[in-house]
Amino acid sequence: MAEHMMLIDLTKCTGCRACQVACKEWNSLRAEKTVFNGTYQNPPDLSYDTWTLVRFDEMKSKDRLKKVKWLLRKEGCMHCEDAPCVQACPSPGALVKTPEGAVVHNPKYCIGCKACVVACPFDIPRYSPKDEKIAKCTLCYDRITEGKVPACVEACTTGCLEFGPKEDILARAMARVKEVNGSLYPNNGYKTHVMYIIPDYARIEEYSHLNPDPRVPATELWWKNLFKPLTLIGMGGVAGLAVLHYLIKGPHKVEDKGTEGGDNNA
């Protein structure tokens, strides 16, 4: 299947949370007991059993006619193009970037090392100490490969969520940004398969828990591209030089006639 994308048009989100419920239902995720914390935020955060949720940001506005600004954002995996979580994962098959653009975790192979949690620029994967595994949104990989849209898109009541072939969604995003005078996220060149349309009354920095400048962590680039090959070059290089040295110079024998003892082959 061709590369697909999801567009989250935040100008249309009403915070109904149908996406949250549909995600739980389709993926058979356990419900969590939560407590009222004084805001509409519920559940409070993504978890091993909550792969998507609506973030509510209530903020005071300088505009006296609109005293309160209410920002809603459906949060979940952004399905990166060069997914740092996939790069960091030590267990083959545990995190896979699919041709459709989805980044899918497979609990069967996950060893619970948490490297992906550390690597993610969006703080998405959630670790369960009990299960010793991570979990996150899969872009409903089991649905999209059957020609369906993800469960959250299917359930969305306002058309805030759209899913389709990459080119269509990108064209749609461009047109919509113009239409509402909004902006696109990510807007720093970082490529993902989920994009937001930020309304004209909001700035990226105003959304809680949204990295304004997502990128592959520099530390990961260093260990992956530099120290990983260097370790092989270093160990192999020294071993190769040692063999050469042995062949050219031979063993550094202790020459002392008349002294017995010492198994030279030890």
């Binding site: 962590p217 020294v238 040295h245 550094h252 202790v254």
Partner: protein, 206 residues
């Protein structure tokens, strides 16, 4: 063998046990770590019982390495303090890699071994510390955890490369040397070549 007058005792039992627990735990952690790092070497995790088992073997061998470091560091640090002549010795690689004249006499450990000791101390501590952060990554700020992953990889590059030098010079490169870590006793002739200053001081004390 011990009664042989031509043999001298270079290392005692605690030193040899510490050395091999340190070496063994490091090697197990190194091999499982390489298996987790290089996906095309899936044969390593297979040998160790899969990727999940490899993770825990890596963590426990790493902890064992850390514990043996705690014993090893105070055990040898006095022997590994640099003295006059060590710089000159290093410049000539102690005559171990090419012929050299006028070598400052080495003590129990030569200057190269001392450098290795201090590398093991510095990068060993860094490996264990960053490993602890990685194993408990969610307890720490994400920036610290990210740095831990990078410094862990950097330290293993340095130590594993240096380890290859150590293995070569301690085994086939210098026949008779490994005995010092196997039985503790080396020939007097060996000691005269490899640890002349140590041998001289030992003879003075008798």
């Amino acid at each position: 063998m011990h009664s042989n007058v031509d043999m001298v005792k270079l290392t005692d039992v605690p030193e040899r046990i510490t050395h091999w627990i340190l070496a063994g735990s490091f090697l197990v952690a190194l091999v499982t770590g390489l298996g987790l790092m290089y996906h095309h070497w899936s044969v390593i995790p297979t040998i160790f019982g899969g990727y999940y088992a490899s993770k825990w073997i890596h963590i426990f061998s790493g902890l064992m390495f850390g514990l043996s470091l705690v014993v090893a560091i105070p055990m040898w640090w006095k022997d590994c303090l640099f003295v006059e002549g060590d710089g000159k010795w290093i410049m000539k690689a102690g005559g171990y890699l090419w012929e050299a004249e006028d070598l400052p006499p080495a003590g129990k450990f030569n200057a190269g071994q001392k450098v290795f000791y201090w590398f093991v101390v510095a990068f060993g501590i860094l490996l264990v510390a960053t490993g602890l952060v990685m194993a408990n990554a969610l307890v720490f700020p994400v920036v610290l955890a990210r740095w831990a992953f990078m410094l862990h990889a950097m330290s293993v590059f340095v130590l594993a490369s240096f380890l290859m030098v150590h293995i070569y010079l301690g085994t086939i490169g210098n026949p008779g040397t490994i005995q010092a870590m196997l039985y503790g006793w080396v020939t007097r002739a060996w000691a005269r070549v490899h640890c002349p200053k140590w041998l001289e001081e030992k003879m003075d004390n008798i």
